[in-house]
Amino acid sequence: MHEDVLKVQDVSRIYSTDGLKVNALRSVSLSIKGSEFTAIAGPSGSGKTTLLNIMSGLDTPTSGSVMLGGKPINTMKGSELSDFRRDHIGFIFQSYNLIPVLSVKENIEYIMLLQGIGEGERRTRVASILKQVGIEGMEDRLPRQLSGGQQQRVAVARAMVSNPDIILADEPTANLDSATGASLLDMMRELNEARGMTFVFSTHDTMIMDRARRLVILKDGKVAKDEVRK
């Protein structure tokens, strides 16, 4: 069996706005192993986004710890945290993932440029990833010249191209019609199987949940169910 890539331990997150306290997460513990393909599901407001943000260091827990690749990310700050995200986590958001002024190729290259990877290496990686996500020949287009499904594929390509330890996706299919969403998920699963890439994604769509190999259900900020499927 694979090692734990991500370990969330006893994490709570309390939002306080205008004196009102919301317990978005209550003592959540969860481990993600390498090469898992996990869906986090649950009704609206159950804490999916909050959990993914904490898992990726975009938000800090009120209490508890988050370890990624053996490192505690809940205590990192500033450039250290930025660099850690850049090198270890791939992100896919619901929409407007891509930088509109950069072409497809430039969007995919962005992280590699931040990492200082040479031009030759960048070019081979971009070419190969474009083929894997099925958008060859569109590398010079701007994001707005692509369909929603194609944009999400580019987002997957960007997340994968620097070989992160884990890819976190908050409702990657929410803005796509169900057929397009399903085919994006199929593609992600293929990449998971072919390259062993670890994915965690949230969704409310049952058709999407069915494509996960592990399903975690959140309810009122708690893990209500955690099951491994086929």
């Binding site: 660099d83 992100f91 509109p100």
Partner: protein, 408 residues
């Protein structure tokens, strides 16, 4: 770095209308700063020229202390040697010796006390504008000892016209005895400077020497420079050279200290004007950057999330400010140049306005200087970057989760 520049640059191009509008606004402020500075310089050049060319001369040599008392006995020491030496000065275009004494002019209608200048009519032609300023009658002829030229104000007081006779009374050197003579009005001048038109009169220097019993001496030598800026430069060695053996040589800054004071005040007001201009620049830049930052909040969140460092986020903002101000400056310089060219052809009409005792008598032409096209734009650039600090810090502090939430 190149990547961040590319991002910033494309963002500037993204909302072209906003970029162009802010660019125009900043450009106009720069152009107006250039223009105001040019007008100031033009105006002061003109005022200095009016004040010095009319009669004063750009510089003067006297016996030390003469200007305090106008004591007839305080003649220039070694005036022959001084004149000989002045003749070989490269910086000068000319000089002319004068006697200066108080005198009483009386006519049937009244009396008017004046500062009577004995002049060499020929040399004085090139030195001062007395000859050009004659409105009635004529200027003094070289051998013409029996006539006098007075100003328009004095003519009014004395109720005389050209050809009329005046009695002149003055005290002689040495004895202090009064001497009197009858002179005919050769001409009446008008220079637009009240004190000169009412209080100065000219006779041939031979005549005044005779009346004052001065022999071949003189009280004042007026000098004119090839370049008027040299006359305002206190650091030139020429002033020291002629401030010796009991004489003093002074440039217009010391001869008309009130004009110098006005110039210093103008410098101050230039500083105030430019500070205001730079505040406008700062506000425009901050506003533009924040507008575009708020518009792209989600995008900034994504950039931060996928690993862009806080410092790099600031850099993006600084690069945007830099490219915005670069274009504004290009536009401003172009506009400033065009406006300056137009007005240096047509001029600005302030004639008749009196300022620091000097009446502006000619059209003002803005003067272009290197400073306007190097220092000012550099300041605009620096100010833009300083103004960008606030939005840049804001961008660096954005947390990705908040940024992405705010725009949804």
């Amino acid at each position: 770095m190149k990547l961040l520049m590319k991002l910033a640059w494309r963002n500037v191009l993204r909302n072209k209308r906003r970029t162009v509008l802010s660019g125009i606004a900043v450009g106009i402020t720069l152009a107006s700063l250039i223009f105001i500075d040019g007008i100031y310089i033009g105006m002061f050049d003109s005022m200095i020229r009016t004040a010095t060319d009319s009669f004063l001369g750009q510089g003067q040599i006297h016996a030390a202390g003469f200007r305090d008392t106008f004591d007839v006995e305080k003649v220039i020491n070694n005036s022959r040697d001084v004149m000989k030496s002045l003749g070989s000065e490269d910086l000068l275009t000319g000089f002319s010796e004068r006697t200066v004494s108080t005198a009483m002019l009386s006519s049937a209608a009244g009396v008017n006390s004046v500062l009577l200048y004995g002049i060499d009519p020929e040399k004085e032609r090139g030195m001062s504008m007395v000859d050009e300023a004659i409105r009635e009658g004529e200027y003094l002829a070289p051998e013409d000892l029996g006539r006098i030229v007075i100003g328009s104000k004095a003519a009014e007081t004395l109720e005389v016209e050209t050809g009329d006779r005046l009695v002149i009374t003055m005290a002689q050197a040495g004895t202090g005895e009064l001497s009197q003579d009858m002179l005919r009005v050769a001409g009446i001048f008008h220079m637009g400077i009240r004190e000169i038109d009412g209080g100065i009169a000219f006779v041939n220097i031979e005549k005044s020497r005779e009346l004052l019993a001065l022999g071949q001496e003189a009280h004042e030598i007026a000098v004119k420079f090839k370049n008027i800026n040299d006359a305002g430069n206190r650091l030139l060695p020429i002033w020291k050279k002629y401030s010796q053996a009991g004489n003093e040589a002074l440039g217009w800054r010391d001869l008309i200290p009130q004009l110098d004071g006005v110039m210093e005040m103008a410098d101050l007001s230039t500083i105030i004007t430019s500070s205001m201009v730079f505040c406008i620049v700062a506000v425009i830049i901050i506003h533009t950057l924040f507008m575009s930052l708020y518009e792209r909040m989600f995008e900034f969140g994504v950039l931060r999330a996928i690993g862009t460092r806080p410092v790099s986020m600031s850099l993006i903002i600084f690069f945007e400010a830099a490219s915005l101000s670069f274009f504004s400056i290009l536009f401003g310089l172009g506009l400033g140049y065009i406006v300056m060219q137009i007005f240096s052809v047509y001029g600005i009409n302030y004639t008749g306005i009196e300022f620091a005792g000097v009446t502006i008598t000619e059209l003002i032409y803005p003067v272009m200087t290197i400073r306007q096209f190097t220092f000012f734009p550099a300041l605009v650039f620096v100010f833009s970057l300083v103004a960008a600090v606030y939005p840049a810090v804001f961008a660096a502090r954005l947390t990705p989760a908040k940024a992405m939430q705010r725009s949804m």
